[in-house]
């Protein structure tokens, strides 16, 4: 019984971990590809300042 509960929990945690990782990475990439990564740095200027966001969108700054 305990083994069953434990193994269910382990598998569920594993799946949740993987899903969390996937979502997290996708969100991070989305940010890098968008303006998220360069908004903070006001010294930058568009169209491109070396940050990925600017090369995809001219309107970051």
């Amino acid at each position: 019984m305990i083994v069953m509960i434990l193994s269910n929990i382990v598998v569920a945690l594993l799946i949740i971990l993987m899903l969390w990782y996937a979502v997290h990475t996708i969100r991070k990439q989305r940010k890098e590809d968008g303006c998220g990564s360069c908004k903070k740095n006001s010294a930058h200027s568009c169209p491109s300042s070396g940050c990925k966001g600017c090369s995809y969108s001219n309107k970051c700054h």
Binding site: N8, V11, I15, L19, D33, P47, S48, G50, Y56
Partner: protein, 653 residues
């Protein structure tokens, strides 16, 4: 903080130097026009800028405008003019324009490692005297001469000395002097020399004129008279005269500073690679070899092994989890969702690695640019630019950077057409689908893979011809594609590029593919009342059956195929994982037959690309309506072609 800007002709090694200085790994490729955006980096507390390559400061294409605008408006403290030392004269043309800007210029003779082999000797002292700029010799890719480069930069930043202006013939010089005397010249923006402005007025440079207040009538009359005189004197129009004067200056300096030893004619691979009859067969042979090695040889070996490995992993894990009493829902997500989906995509990593490796070697050694050269005429006749081939070469990896690189094309219509057709070239993400279908329906027939490229190129040609028939635009830019030199591929470039592409592929398997596999698994295992059902009665099946009738003529009118196409919008690899989750790759042959497999591959090849590429297209079009038309065209064309291919295949097979 001080700023230095790297500027120079395309393919002279600016980005290589930039990477060497800043430790950034920006894309370096052996062809002109690689860099299309400006890039910033830091080096010893100095801001370094990498700019797109330009032949002159009279720009035509957007990225040339970017370089010019930057040099003029943002006024770097030092202009670092990178020169391909094996091409001194041509580079000095740009130098003569930079010198007129009145800011300090440092001449960097790059590629000095090649000089000896080419039998060229350059007198740098003399060059420095004649141009009034400090000169330093380096080799960016070998890392030679960077110490003295550093010293010269520091020295030049401290001195801040303007170079000597190139002198034109007396007639032109006199004219410039009288123009400069006019009051109108006081109106030019600060920091721009009057001599430069006077030349621009003679050239009727549009960018310059639009930034100036209207010219008073008397002065306009005077200018008009001056230009007429020029025309009479030189029998040419003023713009061409100025160009010619500059070339004379460049020629003069080059003649006095460089000696070329006579070289024995060595065997040149280009006599075959770009010859009229040998070129295309050689290209096909090389691409055939690339696919034979990657998909045929390596793929044939590894696909089976990896497939068995994931099947083994899945079945053993399933037995283990069952015996432990794990809920079917959980073990289903893990095994039939994640392992089946992600595994089916990872199966193709080894062959794609080999494919990416070979393609980047071909790219870096200079062969890909030859293909561009061969294609140049063809491209022009179908209304594209010779430069259109470069996005297509990059597109063999991923359409997103490829679409962005179309920016080097001057002509707007050609540029938009290029953006429209670039996704027809199969990208790395579409490869797994093709490899999967080839494995199951055409085992051993690896030569179908290069044919997919041929089909993609045909689609490009047909679209180009149609666009030209609808809209007859005249192409007038006299762009001469320049052949980069052959070189041993640099291990660093090849490594970086192959690694980036392969890791990108693996990363996608771990993110988008994983997510979509789980979602697809859940949707295909439950019905709308959340009861576990056979996949044919699942939510996904019901939904898929709405769309699937559309595809009955193409031979894949079952819901699994339609759903897979939809998930392909997120990422093309997920077509493979979706098929694997919903039907299992082993069962493919009970759904598809060779003819419908071919039509499925065709549809995937030609229909709208993934969402990332669509948004790149949207950006380059800058217009929703155009984007919509482009997507409709791609998908409609894909549908018709797939239909045709299926009919042909049914006749032949």
């Amino acid at each position: 903080m001080q700023t230095i800007a790297l500027i120079g002709n395309p393919n002279c090694g600016k980005t290589t130097l930039f990477n060497e200085l800043t430790g950034i790994t920006a894309y370096v490729g052996n062809w002109p026009g690689v860099t299309v955006e400006k890039k910033e980096g830091m080096w010893n507390n100095i801001k370094v800028l990498d700019l797109p390559g330009v032949y002159s400061l009279s720009p035509y294409s957007p990225e040339e405008k970017l370089s010019r605008r930057y040099i003029l408006d943002e006024q770097p403290d030092l202009i670092v003019d990178v020169i391909d030392a094996t091409n001194l004269e041509r580079s000095l043309y740009l130098t003569s324009q930079l010198a007129e800007l009145g800011r300090s210029v440092l001449l960097v003779l790059n590629m000095q490692d090649l000089l000896e082999r080419e039998g060229i000797v350059i007198d740098t002292k003399r060059l420095s005297l004649m141009t009034g700029c400090p000169v330093v010799s380096i080799s960016a890719s070998k890392g030679i001469g960077l110490e003295s480069f550093k010293k010269e930069v520091e020295h030049a930043l401290k001195e801040n000395k303007a170079p000597a202006c190139p002198l034109f013939s007396n007639y032109v010089e006199n004219l410039l002097t009288t123009i400069i005397e006019d009051d109108y010249l006081h109106l030019i923006p600060s920091g721009r020399p009057q001599r430069w402005a006077a030349i621009k007025l003679l050239e009727e440079d549009e960018l310059f004129l639009s930034s100036m207040p209207p010219i008073p009538e008397a002065f306009a009359e005077f200018l008009h008279q001056a230009k007429t005189n020029l025309r009479l004197h030189f029998e040419d129009d003023p713009e061409a005269i100025i160009i010619d004067q500059r070339y004379k200056v460049a020629e003069h300096i080059a003649k006095h500073c460089q000696t070329k030893k006579f070289q024995k004619k060595r065997f040149n691979f280009d006599t075959i690679a770009t010859s009229r009859f040998g070129a295309i067969p050689l290209f096909i042979a090389i691409m055939g070899a690339v696919f034979y090695l990657s998909i045929g040889l390596v793929g044939g070996y590894t696909t089976g092994i990896l497939e068995n490995f994931f099947a083994y992993l899945g079945s053993n894990l399933s037995i283990l989890l069952d015996s432990l009493g794990v809920f079917p829902l959980l073990s289903g997500i893990l095994i039939d969702g994640i392992i089946a989906g992600v595994g089916s995509v990872l199966t193709f990593v080894p062959q794609l690695f080999v494919l990416f490796l070979l393609l980047s070697i071909l790219e870096d050694c200079g062969y890909m640019a030859r293909i561009a050269f061969i294609m140049d005429r063809l491209m022009r006749t179908i209304g594209l630019s010779g430069k259109s081939i470069i996005p297509m070469v990059i597109g063999t990896g991923c359409s997103v950077p490829a679409i962005m690189s179309s920016r080097t094309i001057e002509h707007q219509k050609q540029r938009e057409l290029t953006v429209l057709v670039t996704p027809f070239i199969p990208c790395g993400a579409k490869m797994p689908v093709f490899a999967l279908m080839l494995t199951y329906f055409f085992p051993g027939k690896w030569y179908i893979a290069p044919l997919i490229y041929v089909l993609g190129i045909l689609a490009v040609i047909i679209t180009g011809l149609l666009a030209r028939a609808i809209d007859k635009h005249k192409e007038k830019n006299a762009f001469i594609l320049e052949l980069p030199r052959y070189q041993l591929p640099s291990a660093k470039n090849v490594y970086l590029q192959t690694r980036e592409r392969t890791l990108g592929f693996v990363a996608k398997a771990g993110t988008i593919i994983l997510l979509s596999s789980v979602i697809i698994y859940l949707l295909s295992s439950y019905n709308f009342t959340l009861q576990s059902v056979d996949s044919d009665d699942s939510m996904l099946a019901i939904f898929g059956k709405f769309i699937s009738p559309v595809f009955i003529p193409l031979g894949f009118g079952f819901w699994q195929a339609s759903v897979a196409l939809l998930t392909g919008i997120a990422a093309k690899e997920s077509i493979v994982s979706t098929l694997s989750v919903t039907m299992g790759t082993q069962a493919l042959s009970s759904f598809f037959d060779p003819a419908s497999a071919l039509s499925y591959m065709t549809f995937i090849l030609l229909s709208s690309p993934c969402i990332a590429a669509i948004s790149a297209m949207a950006k380059e079009f800058g217009n929703r309506k155009k984007l919509l038309y482009a997507l409709i065209w791609q998908t409609g064309f894909a549908y018709l072609t797939a239909l045709l291919i299926r009919m042909l295949a049914m006749l032949i097979l």
